[in-house]
Amino acid sequence: MRIRSGGIGCGLCFVAFVCLTLGLIWAVGTVQAAGDPSGTSRNCQSCHNDALYKSDFQASAHGRNTCASCHTDITGLRRHMTGETKPRPVNCGSCHRDIASRFRKDVHYIKQNFQCQDCHQDIHGIRKSGAGFKVAVVENCSQCHSREDYILLGHSGALLKGNADAAACTDCHGLHNTPYYDSSLERDKAAARENYNRRCRSCHADVKMAKRNRFSTKTVASYDETYHGKILNLGFSQRVAGCADCHLGHNILPKNDLRSAMHRNNMKVACKECHKGFHDRFVSFEAHPNPLDPKRSPLLYWTNVFMIALLGGTFAFFWLHTILWWRRTYCDKCCEGKAGFIEKTILPECREEKQIQRFPIRDRIMHVLLILSFFTLVMTGFPIKYYDSPWAKILINLWGGAYRAGLFHRIAALVLCGLFLYTLWLSLHFLFPKKQFRGSLQRLFGPDSLFPNFKDFKDIIGMFKWFFGKGDMPKFDRWTYWEKFDFFAVFWGMTAIGGSGFMLWFPEVFSYLFPGWMINVATVVHSEEAFLAAIFIFTVHFFNNHFVPNKFPLEPNIFTGRYRLEALWHERPLEYERLMAEGRLDAMKREGPGLWTQLFASVFGLASLMLGLLLTGLIFWAALFY
């Protein structure tokens, strides 16, 4: 009995133990269902039994995760099932840290407090898009953002037809890092401009993509050569037009489409954002000019051809002139060396310390102002011309940025214009002294005039004969032919560079006189003429007046105003003879310049020469390699 009863008692205990164990296992398993649904997702799915949480989730990008991988706060099943606790929003950033970090700067988060699930509403069934990623992006973004903007007016025509190269929203705006720009802040507007220009460029300057899609990368290259492009590439994007300023964001329809931002009527709106008070013809300005295309822009093409020919011709003649002059001078020195030292003839009066007045104080001040304004123009203009050279940004920053550099450029231009007008007035005064018209022709072609005459042409021929040892060096009067060229180059230069400069300064005003594409012509003229002027001065003028061996390293008479009588006799024998014959020589004799004048002449003159040579090096470096 005891045994039986004991057996029954043990059996009951055993059954109770088994039930307890199973119950415990069930309870633990159920709790784990919330904590570890991977093994027991069936437990979650017993309530969440839609296909979304079963098959769709298993096939989704997160299918290998567990429910609790994301819903980490569901720990008490009973409280979850009874609704006592509600699951908190999932923190996707615990896995997608990088995206979460970037998203904190995203406009959707900053302005609208978007969270991951707001865009990824099908998060339980989300799949990797693969090749269809771009289309999926468009579909998702356009749920909120007006479809007509992007779908009808933008790149998506090609994208939705299957061209994977076409841009989706995220190609321009970024994914999870769409930047927020406050349109009331200038720095934000500038940052947006730089960003979107970079984005546009990433496709439109891509040669392979251009080839595949039959568009030209010249669009970007030609924009870079405009004032807009150059200033933006220098990093000063505050006040210039970027791609999206004219192409108005999504609107990139062909320009003959009435809805296109590029349509003539609509372009006025875009231009008016920056330019005020222009004539309608202003919009014919080419934002992507191509001076090498005669069909598209014939005048621009021929202007470019003319400027290249002008540069080529001028430099070919004067550089040849310089090289031959140098060769001849050194050849003479070489002969002297072989023959032994030959004492030069010195006039008896040259033994005196007296000097001859060549330039009055007015001319000297004008020349100093000319040098200062010229260097300012070169140092503020050339960084923009060669915006992509390594020194451009350094130089422009020395001025305090592109806008301050522009301000200095304009001030220097006004100084130069003032000097030019004053010179014009002096020239008229020289031709018609006291309003006397009689004798003006003689004065115009006379020896004191800077106007070229027949003798100058004979002197050129004579000089070339001397270069080749076929004759003596021509005898010069007060002005040599290269000095007259320097003087008249300023007249041409001021007309070309000054005229085009004012047109670029006040494009809106000039639109009442010329069509907008004349601004493109003015840009070419201004740029090429600037190169001609700078390089001519820094090479030809420097050599002819300072680096010729008998003057090297500096001819200071433009600063001191006077030079030795011997120099007059050697360099300008006809003037010497004329002054002697007219009995004016003694009246022109002066004491030598004072110490301070000499010091200023040496320091300022040599500094200017060195700066000019440095700039020449920089310009050639940029022109040849960038």
């Binding site: 302005k111 609208q112 969270q115 509403q121 909120c144 953002h145 406050d182």
Partner: protein
């Protein structure tokens, strides 16, 4: 004469609008506020947007007192009159004529500030925020101002809801629009017709998304918003009839 002087004195002291001579509070950068907090100063943030927006996202620990709710929520202001009150809105800096700011001045708070750039600037600076009762966003397309007239012709039953303040509504509004300020929407949405398409309009398009999401969550199926808000509409409709 004495009576006249006394009357003038009475008018000047008691009749003139209280706080009218108060200087607007200075604007303060988010970084400067954080510096004050680091120095353990008693800084109290006051979100002057609607309670829907404030509960959706706010600077941690902020009080939610909309500009238009100054009267009923004035008692919520802290007792410590030396506390530094920092008022902020959404994307833009709060205007100094916000009623709760004037109420705080009236109550004698000495240290009032307006957060420069509002909540947006705070978030852009990377500082923390909290969501107490976030409204999940419901995606839906916006109507462009250029298409508004055509849409109204197509959907004549549509009801336009102007979410701006009553004063902004009075100054200009689209004909037929119903003024339902955003700070009252959570109380008044039930008065809206459930069967009519709704178009919500705010000042600049930055607040209507939340309002549209809220209404959709509450069961209004056909809710749209005007892209760019009243500012975009006025810009597009220059010279046209409202």
């Amino acid at each position: 004469m004495r009576c006249i002087c006394a009357a003038i004195f009475f008018i000047m002291v008691f009749i003139s609008p209280v706080g009218a001579d108060q200087k607007p509070p200075p604007r303060i950068e988010p970084r400067a506020v954080v510096r004050m907090m680091d120095n353990h100063e008693n800084v109290v943030f006051i979100n002057v947007l609607s309670s829907l927006e404030c509960m959706d996202i706010r600077i941690s620990g902020s009080l939610c007192i909309a500009c238009g709710e100054a009267g009923e929520k004035a008692r919520v202001l802290p007792r410590d009159r030396n506390a530094k009150l920092v008022f902020y809105g959404g994307n833009t800096t709060v205007e100094a004529d916000c009623e709760i700011i004037r109420e705080a001045q009236r109550q004698g708070f000495a240290n009032l500030y307006i957060l420069k750039g509002g909540l947006t600037a705070w978030k852009r600076s990377g500082y923390e925020v909290e969501s107490v009762n976030r409204i999940p966003r419901v995606l839906g397309s916006a109507l462009k101002p250029a298409n508004l007239k055509r849409w109204l012709n197509l959907v004549p039953a549509a009801l336009i809801i102007d979410l701006r303040s009553p004063s902004a509504y009075r100054s200009n509004h689209i004909t037929g629009a119903l003024n339902m300020p955003l700070f009252l929407l959570h109380r008044t949405y039930q008065d809206l017709p459930w069967d009519r398409p709704l178009l919500v309009i705010d000042a600049d398009g930055s607040r209507s998304f939340l309002a549209a999401s809220y209404l959709r969550r509450k069961g209004f199926e056909n809710v749209r918003r005007l892209e760019g808000g009243m500012a975009a509409w006025q810009d597009w409709n220059k010279g046209g009839a409202p």
